[in-house]
Each structure stands twice: as C-alpha cells, then as structure tokens.
C-alpha cells in the first residue's frame, strides 16, 4: 500500500508540474494521454470489468460530442450545461443498446458486432441528417473564455484531462472495492454461477453499459470543446472505438490503471514513430508507421501478456 501510494503521489506531482516546465508540445501529448485513459476507462468498465467486449464504443463518444455541440449551436446552451446533458444522452444510448442486445441474449462476438453496427448506423445517420449538419460536420464558434468551456491556454485542457483521468481512476477503484464491481466481475467470469448467487446478470450488464456510455460521452464533449469541430467520422468512426479498446487491452482490461498504462504506451509509440518517420528517410514512405508498431505490440500483448501491461506491476497492485 505504502509503495503504491508513494508511486501515485510521485506520478501526480509530476503530472501537475509537467506543463509548468515542459514545452507546449509535451503538454498536448500529456493531454492526449489523460484523455485516452479517460475514454479507455469507459471501455474498461463494460469490457474489462463486466466482460462485454464492444467494437463500437464510438457510439457513446459521438453521442456525447454531438449532443453537447447541437445543444450549443442549435439551442444556444452553455457548453458546461450541455456537458451533463451529453453524459445523460450517452447513458441512455448505453441503456438502449444494452437492453436490446442483452434481452436478445447476445454475448461475446455477437454483442461486439451489434455495438459496431450501432456505431456505424449512428455515423451514417449523422452523415445524412440536417440537424447534425450532415457530412459538413459542426463547427463550434471559437470564443475562448472559461465560461464557454474554451481556453486560450492549452494548459487548462491538460489539467481538465488530468482531472477527468483521475475521476475515471477513482470510479474504477471504487469498482474494485464494492458490490457493483464484484458483481460485474462475477458476470464476466461466469454468468451461470453469478445467476445462482443471486445476481441479476441482465441488470448488471445494463448498468455497466450505461455507466460506460456516460463516461465515453463526457469524453466526446471534451473532444468537441478542445478541437471545436466534429464530423461523423471523428465522432462515430471506428478509429475511436478501436482506440478505446486498444488502450485498455494493451494496458490491462479489468484493472484500475490498465487504460492509463495503455494510453501512455500507445501515445508514446505514436509520438516516437512519428518523429522517426520525419527524421529517418527510410521510414518516410511507411505511413503511418505507428499502426505497424501497434499491430506488433497487440500481437505481443495478446500472445505474451494477455492481462496487459498492468500485469507487470501485479505485485505492487495485488498487495495494495
């Protein structure tokens, strides 16, 4: 416990001071890590703890991004107020998908495919409906004032992402030490045994997906406010779903720090390979190099370290 607490305090202090000493570029990278860790935690709750593998988490992310953006642009809402509304929308979408698929008894790869289908359906809808401005995407008017959830200095997005990441870690930590988390893990490990021990398997899965939906949607709004632009591919594209899945799988599904470790690893690889590609002439035409490294890394993780990077820290983790 003390060792873990010490490490965490150290990491926290480093995270707080980083933007004060590091160049702006690193601040952006750090922001990305915490942001990925945050939306990865959404996948981790439903996929890692509850064991319901999804290929379409972008459906929640995009729902959040579009809900808050539409509320702002079309209805003139304040962005901060639109944020919880976006989370609610994400939770509702999670609830609906869960009720439909789990009532129908979908499990494993069938559930994964259904979530992918939902994300694609939402992407196509966003691409064709007028209230989402179709394929043009939606541009949020730049008016960088904190009251508008827009900041002139990227440092504030960094700190906000850090705060979100910490909140997601706290949620995951609570899951590892409470009734809900215990039940989700039981559902993941063995549904029949869970049922026999009094667990309403259906209800627990619905809870997990609703919670995951709210978190990913919160990430969607954050993204929209940071870049002030979303379109159907950014919001609902399969890339986002894969990112959320990947950081969790690489870092360690069903662990508190898995998504954060995965986000660190993947963002790190991404940055290194991008630098390599721009510096080493031989890599110039290998585009994008990071995908190749991702692929190799994923194979190594699945083959050699199925519990993810968090496994390397198991001893610290376990006796905590």
């Amino acid at each position: 416990m003390t060792r873990l607490a010490f490490l965490l305090a150290l990491a926290f202090a480093a995270a707080i001071t980083l933007p004060l000493v590091a160049p702006g570029y690193l601040v952006d990278v750090g922001m990305l890590v915490f942001f990925l860790a945050f939306i990865g935690q959404s996948w981790n709750i439903s996929g890692g703890f509850a064991g319901q593998t999804s290929f379409g988490h972008a459906v929640f992310f995009g729902t959040g991004a579009y809900t808050s953006t539409i509320l702002q642009i079309t209805f003139g809402w304040n962005a901060w107020l639109a944020w919880p509304a976006a989370m609610l929308a994400g939770a509702i979408v999670g609830w609906i998908i869960a009720v439909l698929s789990f009532r129908a008894g979908l499990r494993g790869s069938y559930f994964a495919l259904i979530t992918l289908a939902f994300a694609e359906a939402f992407r196509i809808l966003a691409n064709s409906l007028s209230f989402t401005h179709a394929g043009l995407g939606m541009l949020i008017k730049a008016d960088p004032r904190p009251a508008n959830f827009q900041f002139k200095d990227p440092i504030w997005f960094y700190y906000l992402a850090l705060a979100l990441c910490i909140v997601s870690l706290l949620i995951a930590w609570q899951l590892t030490r409470g009734r809900l988390g215990s039940r989700l893990v039981a559902v993941r490990e063995n549904e029949d045994a869970a049922r026999a021990l009094g667990i309403d398997v259906f209800a627990e899965k619905v809870k997990a997906l609703s919670l995951a939906g709210a978190i990913a949607a919160a990430g969607g709004t954050f993204y929209a406010q940071k870049y002030l632009y979303i379109d159907p591919n950014i919001a609902f594209g399969v890339d986002k779903s894969i990112e959320m899945l990947l950081v969790t799988m690489v870092g360690g599904a069903g662990t508190i720090f898995g998504p954060l470790l995965g986000a660190l690893a993947l963002t790190g690889i991404n940055e290194v390979t991008r630098t390599l590609a721009s510096v080493v002439p031989a890599f110039k035409n290998v585009q994008p190099l990071s995908l190749i490294v991702y692929g190799v890394m994923l194979m190594l993780i699945v083959g050699r370290l199925p519990d993810g990077l968090a496994r390397l820290f198991r001893r610290v983790d376990r006796h905590a």
Partner: protein, 242 residues
C-alpha cells in the same frame, strides 16, 4: 419448506424429468439419489430457476416460485451449487465468496468478514488468497459450497459436492455439511457417495429415468427392489434375495 409436485421437463423428445414430486421439511437433510442420467441435475436446475418446467408446481416457503429467475430464487433463500464446478477463475477465493456475501451485505468490509467466516466454516481459511483457477478439485467443491453459503440461504441444493474427493476429504466435508445443518440451514443434496448419504441424510428420494421410483429412510430404500434394479439392472433384486 419446499414442496414440489408433478414437475416435468423435456428436452426435445427426451423426458428428463417426468412428473416428479418431493418435499423437504425445515431442518432436514434430504438426499436425491439415482443412476447417472436419471434427471437429478435437471430437477435441481428447475428448482433453482435455471430451467422452466413444462408442468408442475414448486412452492418454497409457501410461495409459488415457478417462472422466477435464478437470482430471485436465490434472494428468496434457495441456492444451488454446480456439479461441474464454476469458480470465478481470475479472482481470489476471498473475492469469489464475497460475490455471494454481497447478496445481503452492501458494505465491503462486512462482506469480507462474512466471506472469511464462511471460508473458515468450510475449511478454506488457508486458501483465501488463491485464485479460483488454481484450486484442486476438492478446493473447487468447497468453494462452490462456500459461495452458496455466503448468500445466507435457508435451503441449500448441493449437487455432488463430494464427487472426485478422496475418503479423507469426504469425511471432512460430511462434517462441514453437518455443521451447516446445525446452524439452521436445510439441505437437499444429490450424491453418489453412499457412505456420505447414509451418514448425513434423514431421508432420500430415488430418481430413475426421470421418474421418482422410491422415497423413505435409507434402510427402506436399500431394501426396495425397484431401487436395486435401477442400479444393478433388471432381475438383480431377485438374485440378491436368493
């Protein structure tokens, strides 16, 4: 406490359970025996809500529970274990048992205390930190028992908790089950280990090919020709008598 009347369950053309009735009084240990494939586990699954019977009534504590899902039946106080053990593989024994304890306890530290107490009761205190996947057969059987017990049941349905155990382990678990009964839990058990059945059960039912062919005290059943034939084959009763 449990009254079952006329339960039937078919899978396709196979009548796995055919018009079975039985009853269990509070405080009893009742055994359900019969040859392999007799329909014992199917009957348990029907009682616990895993299969919906095609016909019949199941009344638990004065309440008709037919059609209730397993988790509601568990919450009502009747819990089953699995013949083919189903440990939660990637979590520890303590966490496994806590899943059961959380049924009636919301608080984590109280659930943990309960899990540890139950583990001690079934003789697993030394294995609390082991993972479900790492247990021996005997350990898994005990874990099934412990998890079910942690839910605070009034009626336990034990499905072959002694299969695959060596004689020492059987003697131990017989003592555990006796202690569980003494603590006020009623028990219905499926068992092939006759040494255990005779030393534990007040009464027994015999199921063969989906039908209940005998019931009574163990002595009555051992002398019943239909039972002898079910186990040893047609004509066996005659041979034994001769």
């Amino acid at each position: 406490m449990l009254e079952v009347s006329g339960i039937s369950k078919s899978f396709g053309g196979l009548k796995a359970v055919d018009g079975v009735s039985l009853d269990v009084q509070a405080g009893e240990i009742v055994a359900l025996i019969g040859p392999n494939g007799a329909g014992k586990t199917t009957l348990f699954a029907a009682l616990a809500g895993f299969h919906r019977p095609d016909a019949g009534r199941i009344v638990f504590d004065g309440r008709d529970i037919i059609g209730l899902p397993p988790h509601r039946i568990c919450a009502a106080g009747m819990v089953r274990t699995f013949q083919i053990t189903q440990p939660f593989a990637k979590i520890t024994v303590r966490e496994n048992i806590m899943v059961g304890a959380y049924l009636r306890i919301d608080d984590r530290s109280k659930a943990r205390d309960r899990a540890e107490a139950v583990a001690a009761q079934v003789g697993m205190a030394a294995q609390l930190d082991r993972f479900g996947a790492d247990l021996t057969v005997a350990g898994r059987k005990r874990l099934e028992l412990a998890r079910a017990l942690a839910t605070g049941p009034r009626l336990l349905l034990l499905d072959e908790v002694m299969a695959g155990l060596n004689p020492t382990e059987i003697t131990e678990i017989v003592e555990v089950i006796r202690a569980i009964r003494a603590s006020g839990v009623t028990i219905l058990l499926i068992e092939h280990v006759m040494q255990a059945v005779t030393s534990l059960a007040d009464r027994a039912y015999v199921l063969n090919q989906g039908r209940m062919i005998a019931e009574g005290t163990l002595a009555e059943i051992a002398g019943n020709p239909a039972v002898v034939e079910a186990y040893l084959g047609h004509g066996a009763a005659e041979v034994l008598r001769a």
